[in-house]
Symmetry: C2
DNA sequence: ACGCTTCATATTGTATACAATTCGAGTCGG
DNA sequence: CCGACTCGAATTGTATACAATATGAAGCGT
């Protein structure tokens, strides 16, 4: 619940997260809230002051750029490993997944939520084939970001199609078991997503960010 | 305390970590133990069964290889960023640090603990100059590994000198602000450390691993 | 002998009370 | 008017009790 509140923007960056307040809001006691805050902290969604008070983490544009840069590197690496370990069964699943994704885009208007879901499934499948628990855990903290998920809603139809096209190219690389190719495409895929975000973000800050209500 | 018990080998991989048992052992109640286990879990030092029971994480050689591979990639990236952002003041600190490290090696017998301490300081300084909070948090879970710290004690004098030499080469790359060079050296530095580990480990498993007493 | 069920035990999840610490407003003195 | 201090309120840390759940062994029937 807390994660959702942060990702959705209901809680703004910098807001203090009092354990008692959250406990009441969520209808539980402080104990599970404390557990949750610890986990969110390890994902850097929550930051703590020197005196152990919790706040919604506030990310500068540089920080966000770092996240995408690291994602590009790590997901690129995952794609390389996946290509080297690919099997026909998974390849079929990936093709089916991307077909469904394409259909979501083709709808009018495009079904962005479905797109996001399939996109996530696609990337998760790759990560699974990459077969590195450690890589999974590192990437987990990078993909569960408010920034990442709010972004796709600003994608235009052409950007969605381009994203889908890159997935298809990835499939080609996987079919050939070409790790270097897969890595290059994936890396570019993520970097393009960053620039799409940066453009949309600049446009938004000029007016006002949606879903943010400073209550204090 | 728990981290130390795991890293030192007092608790063997696979051992169950009952909250109550640990609480008694550490002289506190279950509440702070639970917090600790959550944090250790996010570092993958502790794993949990489907029913939420905690165990000391058990790493295969492949897993360990993954850790070094990711470290090579991420620390290489850190070195590149550091080279691009290097300032003369930090460069001086790094030189002083490596000089101290060299002195620790020159002693007879080599002061391995001092070496480790300085080595850590050296890498931390680089990470700091790289100026990416996210990178710091990703690497944190990779360097705090039982495997990493037990390894250096098996280094021979020549390996210690070689490690030190690589640091000096890194300093040259930093002085020239050559990011690509720095990345290449750092990546190799870590990869070499892995092979040193793998060799020592194979040698050890042939006899028996030290510091492991299966109590159950 | 094998598999299924049952139940005592062990273990974790949650709520609550209290202790320790921190923050901030108000006050006093200069 | 400014700064340091004090004290009450707010917040987090810890201990403990109890509830919910999982585990494993004994018992039962086939």
């Amino acid at each position: 619940m807390i994660r959702e509140m942060i990702v959705s923007g209901e809680l703004a960056p910098g807001d203090q997260l009092g354990e008692e307040a959250l406990a009441e809001k969520c209808g539980v006691s402080r104990t599970p809230i404390r557990d949750a805050l610890r986990r969110l902290e390890s994902d850097l969604l929550v930051s703590r002051s020197e005196s152990q008070r919790s706040f919604v983490a506030d990310w500068s544009l540089d920080d966000i750029g770092d996240v995408f840069e690291l994602r590009a590197m790590l997901e690129g690496h995952a794609a390389r490993r996946a290509a080297e370990r690919m099997n026909d069964d998974t390849l079929k699943q990936l093709r089916a997944c991307n077909a469904s994704l394409k259909k979501a885009i083709a709808a009018n208007p495009p079904d962005v939520d479905r797109f996001l879901e399939r996109n996530r499934e696609f990337h998760n499948l790759i990560l699974q084939v990459a077969a590195s628990r450690r890589l999974v855990s590192l990437l987990a903290s990078l993909i569960e970001q408010p920034v990442v998920w709010r972004t796709a809603h600003h994608y235009g139809a052409d950007e969605l199609r381009r994203s889908c096209g890159e997935h298809e190219e990835l499939l080609s690389a996987f079919a050939r078991r070409d790790g270097s190719w897969a890595e290059a495409i994936m890396s570019g895929h993520i970097r393009r997503a960053f620039h799409a975000y940066a453009d949309a973000h600049r446009g938004l800050t000029a007016i006002d960010k949606p879903g943010r209500k400073r209550t204090a």
